[in-house]
Symmetry: C3
Subunit: 250 residues, 3 copies
Amino acid sequence: MIAALTTDFGLSSPYVAQMKAVLLAAVPDVRLVDVTHDLPPQSLRHAEVVLRAAAFAFPLGTVHLVVVDPGVGTERRPIAVRSRGLTFVGPDNGVLGIALEQPDAKAVVLDRPELFRHPVSPTFHGRDIFAPVAAVLGKGLALEDVGSAITDAVPSRLPKLRREGGRSYGETLVADSFGNLLTNIPGAFVKGAVIVAGKSARLVRTYHEGAQGEILALTGSDGYLEIAVRDSSAATVLGGEILPVECESP
Amino acid sequence: MIAALTTDFGLSSPYVAQMKAVLLAAVPDVRLVDVTHDLPPQSLRHAEVVLRAAAFAFPLGTVHLVVVDPGVGTERRPIAVRSRGLTFVGPDNGVLGIALEQPDAKAVVLDRPELFRHPVSPTFHGRDIFAPVAAVLGKGLALEDVGSAITDAVPSRLPKLRREGGRSYGETLVADSFGNLLTNIPGAFVKGAVIVAGKSARLVRTYHEGAQGEILALTGSDGYLEIAVRDSSAATVLGGEILPVECESP
Amino acid sequence: MIAALTTDFGLSSPYVAQMKAVLLAAVPDVRLVDVTHDLPPQSLRHAEVVLRAAAFAFPLGTVHLVVVDPGVGTERRPIAVRSRGLTFVGPDNGVLGIALEQPDAKAVVLDRPELFRHPVSPTFHGRDIFAPVAAVLGKGLALEDVGSAITDAVPSRLPKLRREGGRSYGETLVADSFGNLLTNIPGAFVKGAVIVAGKSARLVRTYHEGAQGEILALTGSDGYLEIAVRDSSAATVLGGEILPVECESP
């Protein structure tokens, strides 16, 4: 079993280790893979962008444990989703949107407390609900064995693209560690001039075209339009992480 | 063998990788688990809080390699501790306090240089003493095979709780990545009003009770009283990480 | 197969996970070891210093996947290097200098596109070229099976030591997480007084000698001269990460 972990727990807290310990105790040969634990606290947006790019690259059978959970302890439901041969476990707050969007997605609410670690802390469902359920799913339990089917799971909260009059109107979502801005416009929708925060961006293929300091637009490695500035940080040059982007579309 | 690593080496230095390489060379099937490497440099306090929460969640047989070692190269002793089915290896500076406090704890000073990696760098015992000894302990060597028994290991340096007149007087120890403040008062000792840094905190069960910006007190996932501020960082609102806390006790 | 990963991708982006997913899919029993992903973006210097200290500590057969790649998408070549029983895969920009410097080093340019992941993103060769090639090398392919031999790979860009008139003239290269400054002067070349940025440093064996705040010079755990300040950060006290260092040499 591969357990891929995506959280906003940070790298200096004990929370990641506690989840890993629960998984190791339940599945001695689990393969733990950190997707990231360093998301901005409670940023569903960052979590969704990371999962959009990385989740389905993992081998079939991988269980994604996703804990960005500002609503822990409230009525928000704990859920599990199966789609495209992968399993996702996490809170029902939209963070599993990419899994739910797949045509074959099936979701359940985790309503079998006998599968949880007890006592369940009202502030740490990652350790007490999500990790134990991920473990039994990884060991082969069927989705219907861990909860009751639902069809109203909270969808992705990423802003939707608007297409109108041969143009696409979208948004930059997050900056990566190089300051490149990832957007919600699929590369296939980009034909002509790209405008970001009112400024023209030159359509290129790699970060190295154009002049130093020039604003560039290219299809990023996750298949979406990406805004970069040659030898610099687009987030810094453009003054933000969330900016309007528009372009001509085919 | 599971080797769980807790250090203050940071995430961009070569030191973590060097320790892992030594473990991998000695125990090809070692399972390396990062507890954290991002503790504030030389903060025994942060290390102790992380271990207090996470150490005993790991499966029996786990070897915890703990290297927060401001005294490396001085007379401070290298030690190993066994308690509750786990093994701990690290400097004798209090950082292994949680292991030493267990009723069945046994400790040895690591005085068998033939087990070390040579030459032993005077500045990196993590690589040259702790990792090699952790490896042989993980492979099954008895505690008495790696050193001589001691009974005077340095205990935890976390501040002790004071109980007096039906009240408990403690301290916030560290902030987690959300700004929640973890304390040294067990949740079971908290009955009535909690006062932190002279301000009243409302006793709740989850982070979502109370009004926005209200100071909250709850039993955290590690079983200790925790101070939070709804939708904000308690550390920021209260202006510090180390603050006096008191409460009525049963 | 051990795959040791060294990148500047940062800890909150999806890029590390994407590379790991490719490796896991290609080599189900791969052992993934993070050397670091938190190098300053595009700092070949930091990457080289980390590899200088850690690369050859790994067990024979380890494949080092090194992706600090400011020139991705340009004409810079993707290469693989074998030396001292280890394999290195990464861009031909000097970052693999330590591997190329070994007397038995052999290098190839990765010119077999049938081994790549397609379509190859022009901005993410780590996922689409380096990881897939690392996987087949780890599974046993010979170096000559993944590319054509070259003898003109870009060497290390770390500044070279100058020796003159019984003195060595070098440089501090990077600060570690404690603020200690690592240099390019081998410890064996240091005999007498050390001068860093015009200031005298006292030659000691450990960080604890000398008075508080005193500038210290010692042989670090990687075998090179290191500059430290007792109970403080040398980088802060001396005001920089890259400073001239000189000393008497035997």
